[in-house]
């Protein structure tokens, strides 16, 4: 990799430094924190997004009255500009005058510093991100459910399988390919989330909500001194992680097709 300081950036004479920048990134004290935050943020987010999306998709499949309207309303988080929803979450979670604290306060819960305490800041941005990701999971899983023929469920219920049994033995296994692609896309989207976290906490307090993507953004654009080389190195690490999971997905698909 070339060492692009801003001087080199303008004059175009960046020095080739091999893997020095990667060594610098891996050796940084921010790296373990960012990696751990990324892992927690991504895994918890997609797990809950998927579970909630699936539950809602199954719920809406029964096609009751107004289900179309309700389903459309569930898309709102997806349609809102991210800066709007992230700012709204930040206001709701504000320590002094946020609505969340005032509701909790009514039940006698003492003030919780959602965004300003290192213990809860990561949790807060995860909650906001889950809310944002549910519509995507809902839409994909719902369309996946449409492809499962209703006769199978009918046959199963004739055989005496209850709703719970039907779901685990028929719907869920048949939904597996769609689930896999939903999780993979969710993973890739979540890995590179910058906007939500940046608007809510700018990666703080300290480094407690700094993910790899936030770190990369901060190095490049978040300070008065653009530092493109480490930012690019971190970005490449992120691509590698996404790639690994991509291959994992392909591998799983091969095995499924083989069996």
């Amino acid at each position: 990799m070339h060492d692009y300081t801003i001087r080199a950036f303008v004059q175009g004479n960046a020095e080739f430094v091999g893997f020095d920048k990667y060594a610098e990134v891996f050796g940084s004290t921010t790296f373990p924190t960012a990696l751990l935050n990324t892992a927690v943020f991504t895994l918890v987010s997609i797990l809950f997004q998927y579970a909630a999306g699936l539950a809602l998709a199954v719920f809406f499949r029964s096609g009751f009255r107004l289900s179309g309207v309700l389903r459309a309303m569930f898309l709102v988080p997806w349609l809102l500009p991210l800066i709007v929803s992230a700012s709204t979450w930040a206001w709701m979670l504000s320590s002094e005058n946020g609505i969340v604290n005032s509701v909790l306060g009514a039940f006698g819960v003492p003030q919780i510093n959602w965004l300003t305490s290192p213990d809860t800041a990561l949790l807060s941005v995860i909650v906001a991100n889950i809310w944002l990701g549910i519509p995507f999971n809902l839409v994909i899983l719902y369309s996946g459910l449409q492809n499962i023929p209703g006769e199978l469920a009918e046959a199963a219920s004739l055989d005496g399988a209850g709703a719970w049994k039907q779901f685990w033995s028929i719907t869920f296994p048949l939904l597996r390919p769609v689930s896999a692609i939903t999780l993979l896309l969710g993973l890739i989207y979540t890995l590179k989330v910058v906007d939500v976290i940046w608007v809510m906490t700018t990666g703080g307090p300290g480094n407690s909500t700094t993910t790899l993507a936030i770190w990369s953004y901060r190095e490049a654009f978040g300070t008065g001194q653009p530092d493109f080389s480490p930012a690019a190195a971190v970005g490449n690490v992120l691509i590698l992680i996404a790639l690994v999971f991509g291959f994992l997905h392909l591998q799983l698909q091969h095995r499924q097709e083989g069996s």
């Binding site: 320590s95 965004l115 300290g206 654009f221």
Partner: protein, 420 residues
Amino acid sequence: MQHTRRGPAALATTVALATATAGLLGACSAAAPDEASEGSSDTYTWWDPYPQHDESSDWAARVQQCGTDAGVTIERTAYDTTALTNQALLSAQEGTSPDVILIDNPAVSTLADTGMLSTVDELGLDTSAIDENLLAAGVAGGDAYGVPIGANTLAIYYNKEVLDAAGVDPAAVTDWASLTAALEKVTAAGSKGITFAGIGTEEGSFQFLPWFWGAGADLRELDSPEAVAAVELWKGWLDAGYAPNTVITNSQNTTWEEFLTGEYAFVENGTWQVNSAAEAGFETGIIQIPARDGGGAPAPTGGEFIVAPVQEDAERYEVTRQIVECMTTPEGFVETATTFAYYIPPTAEGQAALLEQNPELEPWVSAVQDAKGRTSDDLGTDYPIISEQLWTAVQNALSGAGSPEEALKAAQTEAETATS
């Protein structure tokens, strides 16, 4: 059961569409630089960070007037402050720099470091009248790279009604101890104490610096006992409930909104809120930020510099110089000051002229005279690196992720590795 498989025809269409789109995009991006580099000899380009002043504004008219006086047309483009630095770097890389840029003062040394700015000597500008402490932010390696068009800085605004109710005399707030005592009285009387911006960006460092410097600390030594004392002051206010917990994520605008609710006794904020303070629903006043043991603390200067990027055609500098001089006459400074509510002029003559029109700005003029550039002390391009560590340390200490000593020690280690 319906299985829809996409036929080869559909796939081919998609590919063709994608290729066509990519081709179009490519064509667009290739065309853009050509257009920009076609600067004709009587059109001069001007970039500034004031998108709030559009083409029909007084500001734009003034810029045009300076162009007309120099016999050229000025093409003005306004960018957002942070976008402007990136745009300037990109244009320098492509060799399409504008003739004049108005840029935030800490960015001057960053741009100068790339070699893309001409010095004031090369332009032939006279900077002898400009206050030393304000010009210092644009000096790197002994050369000045720009002229400040005005300066603003921080002070403490107070809500007179809240102070009166608590029996606090703002004139008695002269050092840290008396300020903390005032906060104690105010909160005991049922109001809220002070609010400030401790956000994890440059704004956080900007707001912390008066306390940092007021304790006698040095940016080269983030873990000095003086620095620890400054962090402990803020942390103590938070722990005692004199300052709200939201300061950790507050931007300066948010703190001002908090203050305007009328619940807070004090807020740390800048010259740019003078008009808003006058319109507040309660009586306000300002005091200079006190140093630890009394006296005024040096606050960091804000405000833009006029800089002139290097041009291939050296003959353009003559007109550029005329444009810059036109913007920096004493009358020009006063006009700039009132346009931007308020930039204190950087020359003694300009300050006198401003005070004649607005005598109530006196405390701000003295605050600016005491102020200090963030990139001064020959910090230059090291400043942004140190600043990032400083705001991180403040955030860690305030949020309780570490003690002030630990946080500052870690920051100093990081800053030393990054700047060495």
